[in-house]
């Protein structure tokens, strides 16, 4: 079976092909398109998705040695994300499926991330704990099968990746904040400044807004002229990164003690952070669990995870209408099958 996946929920346009359970192509606009076609494509623009999507589909098919007619299943992200961006990929996918007389499957972007560990050779084993951490989401979930997902907790304010971006900005480091903070942290002391780790009434929820504010206060108090020496910069970045990691680890640990799982799986753009990756590898070791963290190309937004998830829904017998509407926000606990 040949599956085409399309992802356009936010800044990235991505097209992937999975052929008989093997990933043949996973093209991502920021990496592949810009390299090939050059020029500056505006971010956050539905028009940008519109310009890129056709050449990406063409390239993905060529890379997979397939013709359009060989595609058996078309899967596209339906939400959550920016409505204008979602509409491009979803409508493109529907129209393509309709014209080819093939089945169309709308995919929940978060579910794509949750199962992205299955794109690796060493796959998660059910039941597993999934921690989805990105610029827009921070979710802890209990995943019992391909059709059973239970949300344990999520952020009540800022997403973890957003906190990275904003703190990087406060430190004058620029965008994207994740890699900048990670690099600056290498020479820093993570225990020098005790930034707060939120303790919330719901044991699995996260909060990063207070942490962001306390970094701001620390900077204002100690460096009112905004002139931060390099070693202090490294310590602030490192201490902040440590506080985010502690928050993520704390809730995951709590879940490990209350749920009997086989695997811990980390997903989303923030899972690219090596300090966080290492902390979760340690955590898994302590609790004698398997750990699965996708390769970098599957951490950020990508269509491979959408194609994979779509195929699983199809195999489970899920049927969808071509009138399926995009959804910008994730409705409370609304996952396929659960």
């Amino acid at each position: 079976m040949n599956v085409l996946g399309i992802e356009s929920s936010c800044d990235e346009t991505s097209v992937a092909v999975i052929s008989d359970d093997r990933l043949k192509a996973n093209l991502i606009s920021s990496q592949d398109f810009h390299k090939k076609y050059g020029g500056v494509v505006p971010e956050l623009s539905s028009r940008a998705h519109l310009q890129i999507i056709t050449p990406l589909v063409r390239d993905a098919l060529a890379k997979s040695d397939l013709k359009l007619n060989d595609i058996d299943l078309v899967c596209a992200t339906a939400g959550p994300g920016l409505i204008g961006a979602l509409l491009v990929g979803l409508t493109f996918g529907k129209a393509l499926a309709y014209s080819l007389k093939k089945t169309f499957i709308p995919v929940n972007h978060i579910e794509g991330h949750i199962y992205s560990g299955f794109l690796m050779d060493d796959k998660p084993e059910f039941p597993f704990l999934s921690l989805v951490v990105s610029g827009g989401h921070t979710l802890l979930l209990l995943v019992e099968s391909f059709m059973q997902i239970k949300k344990l907790g999520s952020t009540v304010d800022d997403a973890a990746g957003e906190a990275f971006d904003k703190v990087a900005k406060m430190l004058g480091m620029g965008y994207p904040g994740g890699p900048k903070i990670q690099n600056a942290s290498l020479k820093g002391d993570p225990s020098r400044i005790k930034f707060p780790v939120a303790d919330l009434r719901e044991p699995y929820n996260f909060s990063f807004s207070g942490l962001k504010t306390s970094v701001l206060r620390y900077i204002q108090k100690n460096f009112p002229d905004k002139n931060i020496p390099e070693n202090d910069l490294a310590d602030i970045a490192s201490s902040f990164q440590n506080a985010v990691t502690l928050a993520l680890v704390k809730n995951t640990k709590r879940a490990l003690e209350n749920y009997d799982v086989k695997t811990i799986s980390l997903a989303g753009g923030v899972a690219a952070n090596s300090f966080i990756r290492n902390s979760f590898i340690e955590l898994a070791k302590t609790y004698d669990k398997k750990i699965v963290i996708p390769d970098l190309e599957f951490c950020g937004d990508n269509a491979a995870m959408i194609a994979f998830r779509g195929q699983k829904l199809f195999e489970a017998g899920m049927k969808y209408d071509l009138s399926y509407a995009p959804f910008p926000a994730l409705k409370e606990d609304q996952y396929s099958g659960s």
Partner: protein, 142 residues
């Protein structure tokens, strides 16, 4: 609430009180702009105000640019922080949102694109003082 107005608070509870009082004075079709530096409490203010409309799950709209909530009222919660050009806003249908008079619209970092804000609007400026107390300045434009 009278405009212009300036209120000083020293704690999060103070912000809650202001947001509660403010939410009672707004109606459908109102556009509320929140300006203030990172960490000044813009999202916190909206979170508190929305509770009075039966909405308890407000989170940061920075990444999504706009979050939509349906409680006793419909709320669109924008954040211009990540926007680089105003064209991007039109691209995601900003005009359609702004013309929806059956909803209340909050816009964080509205001062980044003053040229596209509607004439009739309420602006809230949050100033963080050196002792971390905050001043809320309310202004209404007709």
């Amino acid at each position: 609430m009278r405009y212009p107005n300036s209120l000083k608070i020293i704690s999060e509870d103070g912000t809650k009180k202001i947001a509660d009082d403010f939410s009672k004075t707004i109606k459908n079709g109102d556009v509320i702009i929140l300006n203030g530096e990172l960490g000044s409490g813009k999202t916190f203010f909206v979170k508190q105000a929305a509770k009075n409309f039966g909405i308890h799950n407000v989170s940061s709209p920075t990444f999504a640019i706009v979050n939509e909530y349906n409680g006793d009222r419909k709320i669109y919660h924008f954040d211009f922080y990540r926007i680089e050009k105003s064209e991007e806003l039109f691209d995601i249908g900003f005009n359609d949102y702004i013309n929806d008079k059956e909803s209340i619209i909050f816009i964080e970092w509205g001062n980044l694109f003053p040229e596209i804000l509607p004439e009739a609007r309420i602006e809230i400026k949050i100033i963080v003082n050196e002792d971390f107390s905050r001043e809320f300045k309310f202004e209404k434009y007709e």
